[in-house]
């Protein structure tokens, strides 16, 4: 009997932390919409799907080069998100939670079915967007895709954070999110900010979707992947971007460790165990605003 396999542990941990970057990216999409409009968007996974399918269509089916296909895809997803906000969410603003929640669930179902009807339920092979070359740190091997997806996710998150801190529009969006009435009085176009929120969330989701699809494969099952990310946003606190990042890393690590030591089936329920524990112990998450009433 040899001792404990430290290299395996290090590998699992590194892969977990790095894949947590991707989780954090999807979580950022959730948090943006929750902060901006007070809704958990259950159609996030479907936005991921849209991004991946649009990119596949433009890049592989129509043969456009990546530098043209990528902006076109992002523009198309942004347009979809804006349409969704205008057609569904705006008429429902001010309605009870259950209405808005069910609207996003209905949207998820409609988009999922639409994608399935147009592209079919089969698996597509996405082109490799990220280099595969693994990185070795001592004996620990880290797959290139995982590493680069982490880097990409980190860059996007940092850019968004800077945007919200520094740019005029970003500050206006934060103002509209934290107090719509005051923001409105101060001359901020709150509706435009909410639309922008949805567009940005759609873009974030689409980027995450492209990365995930290029690492695995492209099929309608991609849409269900986002539900597991609920654990990340609950753990991090629904309205905290910093929380989303930290929680993304934690959940990624947990998932990777359970997958490594307990198997894939257990891995799939880890996010939900995390959700239940967090909701029972600390419902506002690690960094969320404490506004839960105790009754």
């Amino acid at each position: 009997m040899t001792g404990f396999d430290w290299i395996a542990l290090a590998e699992f941990s590194a892969i977990g932390l790095l894949s947590g970057g991707l989780l954090a990216l999807v979580a950022l999409g959730f948090v943006l919409i929750y902060k901006g409009t007070g809704v958990i968007n259950f159609a996030m996974g479907e936005f991921m799907m849209l991004g991946a399918y649009f990119l596949y269509t433009a890049h592989v089916m129509w043969g456009l080069p990546l530098w043209m296909a990528l902006p076109a895809t992002l523009a198309a997803v942004a347009l979809c998100a804006a349409l969704v906000e205008r057609a569904i969410l705006r008429p429902l603003s001010g309605q009870p939670v259950i209405s808005v929640l069910m609207a996003t669930i209905g949207l998820a179902s409609a988009l999922h079915g639409g994608v399935d009807a147009i592209w079919g339920g089969r698996n597509y092979e996405m082109p490799q967007l990220l280099p595969r070359k693994p990185l070795f740190i001592g004996d620990v091997m880290i797959p290139g895709q995982v590493l680069w997806s982490f880097v990409l996710a980190a860059v996007v998150i940092v850019l968004f954070t800077l945007y919200f801190r520094r740019s005029r529009t970003g500050v206006a969006m934060r103002a509209a999110a934290s107090d719509p009435v005051t923001a409105y009085v101060l001359g901020i176009d709150v509706r435009a900010m909410q639309r922008l929120t949805w567009i940005y969330a759609g873009l974030v989701g689409a980027m995450a979707g492209m990365i995930v699809a290029s690492m695995t494969s492209l099929s309608p099952a991609l849409g269900g992947a986002a539900l597991g990310v609920l654990a990340v946003i609950i753990l991090g606190g629904l309205d905290s971007i910093a929380g989303a990042i930290v929680a993304g890393l934690i959940v990624g690590l947990l998932e990777s460790l359970t997958a490594g030591y307990l198997g894939g089936k257990v891995r799939d329920i880890v996010p939900y165990v995390v959700v239940l524990v967090i909701l029972l112990v600390r419902p506002y998450g690690l960094f969320g605003t404490r506004q839960i009433e105790r009754l």
């Binding site: 809704v39 958990i40 569904i88 008429p91 429902l92 309605q95 939670v97 259950i98 209405s99 929640l101 069910m102 609207a103 669930i105 209905g106 949207l107 998820a108 179902s109 409609a110 988009l111 999922h112 079915g113 639409g114 994608v115 399935d116 009807a117 079919g120 339920g121 539900l227 609920l230 654990a231 609950i234 629904l238 089936k265 799939d268 329920i269 996010p271 939900y272 165990v273 959700v275 239940l276 909701l279 029972l280 419902p283 839960i292 009433e293 105790r294 009754l295």
Partner: protein, 346 residues
């Protein structure tokens, strides 16, 4: 047309079916439903059974979500608990009259456990908590093979009532119809009692409900227990109807289906429960018929049936939320109001 209908006492005003016309219609509908299994074809009687089960389950969710304002995305899991409880007991020779309530009580007990987080959280958080519970329970259904049979599923011996084997669809239809009727009347009556009024108060504003002296812990858990009880009974009937069940039936999809049904029907209304559950079950069936018709010209039609059903399902939810937030029951009320004074004034 309704004439000579004056409510002169509180008893009359609170009556379930205040007018004679309503009672006459009710009897007529019940007789028609009871006669249906005798004349209807196999497919239609089977559909009626499924409808009855959906109505029972949706009634439970409507008490919980429409009545007490507790959003649950885990209703299908409660049904699963009921189904597996009934199956496990029935395999050990326990008679049907015991397994059915036992299934409901087991689900209700679990409902209380699941309802515990609702004391600290509500709204979206509660929705996410019940969602997590849904996934965990399906995992348990898949893995706890000694009880649930795992992914291969479990077989349920046929039910028998008073020495009568309930092994045909027609007999099941009578059983399910009877159960549905009893449970719907129960649901309707619940909201005329102290408990029902407490639920409504909690839904409308929980803080003021507590100020009014309503014990929130008590009543929120009771709402979960009652809703889960309905789901458990529906799940047990489902098991007896299909005679075999796999965990794949009790997924998030089904939970969402019930939420959609009560929203389309009308939150907090028993009639809405019936209308919504029937409507949401029939639409996919009609689509299936339409697609089979279209398949004569385009063979691809059958291939995209299930995606189209999904799209229509989603659009129905969104459409009702945006254009008719009070659901089908509001449409029904509008029609009735038109006929109240018809043909004298329209």
């Amino acid at each position: 047309m309704r004439i000579h209908d004056f409510r002169e006492s509180y008893v009359h005003d609170e009556a379930l079916w205040p007018t004679r016309v309503q009672r006459a219609w009710l009897v007529a509908v019940l007789v028609a439903l009871a006669a249906f299994p005798l004349v209807g074809g196999g497919y239609l009687v089977g559909l009626m059974c499924v409808l009855g089960i959906h109505v029972i389950a949706a009634a439970g969710l409507n008490i919980m979500t429409g009545g007490a304002g507790l959003i649950s995305l885990g209703h299908a899991a409660f049904m699963g608990v009921g189904c597996y409880t009934a199956a496990w007991l029935a395999q050990r020779g326990v008679p049907f009259v015991v397994t059915l309530p036992a299934a409901g009580l087991m689900a209700a007990a679990l409902g209380v456990v699941v309802g515990l987080p609702s004391l600290r959280i509500k709204g979206l958080y509660l929705a996410v908590a019940t969602l997590a519970m849904q996934f965990l329970l399906v995992y348990v259904f898949r893995e706890w093979e000694s009880v649930t049979g795992g992914v291969k599923g479990v077989n349920v011996p046929p039910a028998s009532l008073f020495g009568l084997e309930l092994n045909t669809d027609a007999r099941m239809a009578w059983l399910i119809g009877g159960c549905a009727e009893v449970m719907l009347i129960g649901a309707r009556n619940l909201f005329r009692t102290r408990v029902g009024r407490a639920f409504t108060a909690i839904r409308d504003k929980d803080i003021s409900a507590e100020v009014l002296g309503i014990h929130l812990l008590h009543y929120k858990l009771m709402a979960f227990a009652i809703g889960a009880f309905y789901a458990g009974v529906a799940g047990a009937l489902l098991g007896y109807f299909y005679r075999a069940m796999t965990p794949e039936y009790f997924t998030l999809q089904l939970s969402i289906f019930y939420l959609a049904a009560i929203i389309v029907g009308g939150l907090g209304s028993t009639l809405g429960t019936i209308l919504g559950a029937v409507f949401m079950t029939l639409v996919p069936e009609l689509l299936r018929g339409g697609v089979a018709f279209a398949a004569q010209w385009t063979p691809r039609a059958t291939e995209i049936l299930s995606p189209i059903q999904q799209v229509v399902f989603g659009l129905l939810i969104i459409g009702f939320l945006v254009f008719e937030p009070h659901g089908l029951v509001e449409v029904w009320r509008r029609i009735r109001r038109f006929f109240h004074l018809w043909p004298f004034r329209s």
